[in-house]
């Protein structure tokens, strides 16, 4: 597609439930990133995929968070046993080598 697509745009879930967030990057972009943003503040790095290399998971806050990227394209971020502190906007971005990021509009996750 023309841009990075994220779904759902909004998700309200009960504490303890699992959620899946989806990101469809720009075709041809080899790198895909997940960031988390709380209350309109700066972005917190979560995970990074580059081609067929092992993902950089250094930003995942706990083992309840995981992500995969299938076929070098679509990525899913999974949060298990959600907690209230997981509430945030989850942003996905993609890029080609050496270029800036193109972000999706994000998924606003609210854990109640």
């Amino acid at each position: 597609g023309a841009g990075v697509s994220q779904s759902p745009s909004n998700k309200v879930t009960e504490k303890g439930k699992d959620v899946e967030l989806r990101c469809d990057p720009i075709s041809g972009h080899t790198a895909l990133y997940w960031y988390r943003q709380s209350l309109g503040q700066g972005l917190e790095f979560l995970i990074y995929f580059q081609g067929n290399s092992a993902p950089d998971k250094s930003g995942l806050p706990s083992d309840r968070f995981s992500a995969e990227r299938t076929g070098g394209s679509v990525s899913t971020l999974t949060i298990q046993r959600t907690q209230q502190e997981d509430s945030a906007v989850y942003l996905c971005a993609s890029n080609k080598q050496g270029s800036g990021y193109t972000f999706g509009s994000g998924t606003r996750l609210t854990v109640v």
Partner: protein
């Protein structure tokens, strides 16, 4: 530990005024990007600077990369209400791959 500190955190000015936003770090970056984010959207790339001392202009916006590649500034001349948003700097560490670290953000409001 926040690698990139932005100042000020908040800025509210009248239309037509000039302003400068600063992005500072103790780390050396191979490149630095500036993004603007509007409510409900992902950040949008404004510019990438890669050479120490580099100055780039984008209409009324002037971006500068410090000589030592540790800091950057964004200057807006004659601010317009359309400039309102969250401004984020993001740096790629020297020797690292594409993953960038985002700054703490500057929220700008331009009052008509």
């Amino acid at each position: 530990t926040q690698l990139l500190e932005q100042s000020p955190q908040f800025l509210s000015i009248q239309e037509g005024e000039n302003l400068t936003v600063y992005c500072n770090s103790s780390s050396v970056f191979s490149s630095l990007q500036w993004y603007r984010q509007e409510p409900g959207e992902g950040p949008v790339l404004l510019v990438t600077v890669v050479t120490g001392g580099e100055v780039k202009k984008l209409k009324r916006l002037t971006f500068q990369f410090g000589d030592a590649r540790k800091d950057s500034s964004l200057h807006i001349t004659a601010a317009q209400p359309g400039d309102t948003g969250l401004y984020l700097c993001a740096g790629a560490l020297r020797g690292g791959y594409q993953k960038v670290t985002f700054g703490t953000g500057t929220k700008l409001q331009v009052i008509p």
